[in-house]
Amino acid sequence: MTLVRSDATPVIESRSGVPDLEALYRAHAPTVARWAAKLAGPLADVDDLVHEIFLVVRRRLPEFRGDAQVTTWLYRITERVAQESRRRDRFRRWFSRARHLEIERTMAPPHLTPVDEFERRQSSETVYRILDRLPGKYRNVLILFELEELSGEEIATLTGLKLATVWVHLHRARARFIAEMKRDSGRRT
């Protein structure tokens, strides 16, 4: 489940000593895709995100010296690309693609769409609406802890934060999440 654990997969190096992109992709693409989906939210096109992430990886691969774990390095790239994607999505909501997705999500009645799938989508939208109001550092730690089910120690490894900082961010993220959730439900009633 966790990326930290998947880091155990050996990264095959090419003759030049630089990790091989193909091997990196084979070992980490599923995890990167899962992170991307969770960090960017339900409106994101995960195919494109993974593509963008690995384009960055390919470009920056020669600079990777192994000072950090591969997973930490990949996570940071994923975080940045996902953040960009969220910025784009805010803009995108106004236009046809968002319209298409939103209509699709809104309109599917439960008897044809499985109820759980429908509710999951609704809840997912609500969760990300609330998460998007949190500062990025709190938002991502909360996602990694609650959605990705990483431990504090794993989050610290992945993000490069001190463990104490992870706990502080998580405490504050939870408090903000509850506050925003109440505000959100107040607005809807």
Binding site: E22, Y25, A29, P30, R34, A37, K38, D45, V46, D47, D48, V50, H51, E52, F54, L55, R88, R92, R93, F95, S96, R97, A98, R99, H100, I103, E104, T106, M107, A108, P109, H111, L112, P114, E117, R120, S123, S124, T126, V127, Y128, R129, F145, E146, L147, E149, G152, A164, W167, V168, L170, H171, R172, R174, F177, I178, M181, K182, R187, R188
Partner: protein, 343 residues
């Protein structure tokens, strides 16, 4: 002074306490944390990224082309579209504002210069053009705009000092306050409704603005079709399916553009209300055209299978489900389809 500092240190210490229990792992309950846990749990249940898609991305990467990812291409397309739309809007506004004066222009031109010879602004002109030149007898309807647009044009075209002298003594017509066009007012209302609906997630307020739009512009408003689509979306968000279906029933929908989305929504709502024959017509219409393999086709195919099954057409339903699995093997209804046909 010491007390707040001590309290601050205490807070910091509390915040550093490790958290071991996840909200998303808690059982359902009534408290805020249980509610948050339930929400997070449902958002965490993301299906794994299909291996097929991973392979496709790998192929795109392997191609080594410097092509832009699809999202960028999409962004560029939107930017280009916006540019076109902005240009068109600007041209439309100019057309509306200048329309009367342009129509009146031929009547004005002869007064200040001969129409036969094209007159160019001489290069030697240093001083700015003289005061605005007005037609002696402007048409009442075009008075205000003529003042704004005709005079500078005439001056630009090199009106002589003499002609100015003869015209300038004329009293300018009384200025009327310009009123925003009906289209601009409609656009503002509709944009407001869309903002309420999409940005603020407030379909109730969006509906109120759409009601205001209808009250002011009636069914003949230039943007009534767009308002109607927005109204349907708002009603669906409010869970008022009957009303949404009522509106959708009144639309002559085609399989082009947003019509496809409306059509599949209507089919599903009709099926939900037990109007299966009508639903089947819509699904057939969607699937008979050259349907692209998108989410609308996916919903239509699965919806038709459901309708056929409910109407006792087992063979038809099975054929649809098999077609569904062939076209959308990792689709959102794939598991149900496989279960239904025992694969």
């Amino acid at each position: 002074m010491k007390e707040p500092m001590a309290r601050g240190r205490q807070t910091d210490a509390d915040e550093r306490t490790p958290i071991r229990d996840r909200w998303s792992a808690r059982p359902s309950g009534d408290g805020d944390e249980a509610l948050a846990g339930a929400l997070l749990r449902s958002a965490a249940a993301v299906p794994p990224f299909p291996a097929k898609n991973l392979a496709e991305v790998a192929a795109r990467l392997r191609s080594r082309e410097r092509h832009l990812p699809r999202t960028w291409a999409w962004q560029i397309a939107v930017a280009f579209g916006l540019l076109l739309f902005g240009g068109a809007l600007y041209a439309a506004v100019l057309h509306i504002l200048r329309g009367p004066s342009l129509r009146a222009l031929p009547a004005v031109v002869p007064v200040s210069m001969p129409a036969s010879a094209p007159v160019r602004r001489p290069h030697s002109v240093v001083a700015p053009p003289p005061a605005p030149v007005l037609s002696p007898e402007p048409e009442p309807s075009s008075i205000v705009r003529a003042e704004e647009t005709r005079a500078p044009r005439l001056a630009f075209r090199g009106a002589t000092q003499e002609s100015v002298a003869t015209k300038v003594s004329l009293e300018p017509p009384p200025a009327l306050p310009p009123s925003p066009s009906a289209l601009a007012q409609e656009s503002r209302l509709l944009a407001g409704a869309l903002h309420k609906l999409r940005q603020e997630r407030d379909p109730g307020q969006a509906l109120a603005m759409l009601d205001e739009h209808r009250a002011r512009f009636g069914a003949n408003g230039a943007l009534e079709p767009e308002a109607n689509v927005t109204r349907i979306e708002a009603l669906l968000r409010l869970g008022r399916h009957d009303q949404a279906l009522g509106l959708l029933d009144g639309l002559a929908l085609t399989t082009a553009g947003v019509g496809r989305e409306m059509l599949v929504a209507r089919a599903e709502l009709r099926a939900e209300k037990g109007r299966r024959a009508a639903a089947l017509n819509d699904f057939n219409l969607l699937l008979s055209a050259d349907a692209p393999p998108d989410v609308v086709s996916e919903r239509a195919l699965y919806g038709r299978a459901t309708c056929r099954a409910q109407m006792g057409d087992g063979a038809g339903a099975r054929a649809d489900l098999e077609q569904y699995l062939a076209r959308f093997p990792t689709g959102r209804f794939a598991a149900q389809a496989r279960a239904a046909i025992g694969k």
